[in-house]
Amino acid sequence: MSTVNPPVVFTQDELGWVSWIDPLPEAELTERHYAGLVDRARAKSEYFRLLVRDPEVLEARTKTDKDIFYNVADGLPRAERELAAAATSRYNGCIYCASVHARFASTYSKHRDDVQRLLDEGVGADLGERWNAVVKASVALAATPIAFGPDNIAELRRAGLDDAEIVDVINGAAFFNWANRLMLSLGEPSK
């Protein structure tokens, strides 16, 4: 296993990720595993070669993820789906997930400084009415017990989101409660 140099702040830099338990060796992957990986190139990733130990779950998880974030034929703009992912990760404390999705939020929104303030100041950063509503809803949904309620819906509507866009916020934020827990508990980020 490589030497780990864990980041101690939230960042938009590219990070590595090192598994605490053994991923499958690339040489041992079968067609069943490649089906689970969905993209064959993911065989290069330690994280996906670990998750592919249960290929059926990984395949379904990956396809859920892709549709929630990449299907932008309608609904919430990609930037704000990524914002929901980044805010959830910031609140749960997943430095790795936050780095990836903060970068995506910056790329798609062109508001890199606002995204950086979410990372630096935390989920209370003032990012303007629309982004504040998305961040607040994501945080309320991430709390346990879940704190998401009618006030979050009303706030998202006042910020201009329709019901389809609100469902995209719910899906994107909820999905990162799945992703954060895998990334945080099976290994750690490394600079």
């Binding site: 338990i21 395949e59 299907n71 997943c94 949904l141 998401f148 019901d163 469902v167 899906n171 508990s185």
Partner: protein, 199 residues
């Protein structure tokens, strides 16, 4: 969406409703959330993570989130699973002992340490360890960590699971199960809240 879709059922989404139509625009996500559920709870091969243990962890995880249709669903599932019913009382008692508020936990030492938040480090009660067994005891303790303070997770937690008899592949499935339920319970809660706001 089919009448059997678990999220639709738990969220009370009626075929032909506005929310049904909205969810249909993310058909691949809906279908694969369903496939995730099936792969975890009706796997082709349960391997060394038996169905009763899966249902027990699910009832515990969803119960820790508070009473909801999702918690009731997995409690009923545990009661209906072969070898599951004898675990039900112990799981319910452990849910009550494990309930707290998250997320909390510590960051790597540095500027984020100021955000460290202490909270319950849950351990299964000694009196219920015999009925649950070492493997399930370790799974519940790990599940509690993932539900409430995942940023505290460390390599030592993997060693604790391995020492309790979990295989590496079993740990992956256990982690997916807890993490998936963290997603499912939130989608259902979010959709229910939205539906109620429109009622």
């Amino acid at each position: 969406m089919g009448a059997q879709d678990i999220i639709d059922t738990l969220a009370g989404i009626e075929p032909g409703s506005t929310l049904d139509a909205i969810r249909a625009r993310r058909l691949q996500a809906c279908e694969n959330a369903q496939k995730s559920y099936l792969a975890l709870f009706e796997p082709v091969d349960a391997g060394d993570f038996p169905l009763a243990e899966r249902a027990a962890v699910a009832a515990f995880v969803t119960g820790l989130h508070g009473e909801s249709p999702v918690a009731a669903f997995y409690r009923d599932k545990l009661a209906a699973t072969a070898d599951g019913a004898p675990l039900l009382d112990a799981i319910n008692a452990e849910i009550e002992r494990g309930k707290t508020s998250g997320p909390y936990g510590a960051y790597p030492a540095g500027p984020l340490s100021i955000e460290n938040k202490a909270g319950l480090i849950y351990r299964v009660s000694a009196e219920r360890k015999p009925v649950l067994g070492a493997k399930l005891v370790a799974a519940l303790e790990h599940a509690h960590l993932l539900v409430f303070h995942p940023r505290d997770a460390a390599a030592a937690d993997m060693k604790a699971l391995l020492a309790a008899g979990w295989s590496t592949t079993g740990i992956v499935t256990l982690s997916q199960l807890v993490a998936f339920l963290s997603f499912q319970v939130r989608v259902v809660s979010g959709l229910r809240t939205l539906a109620a706001a429109n009622a």
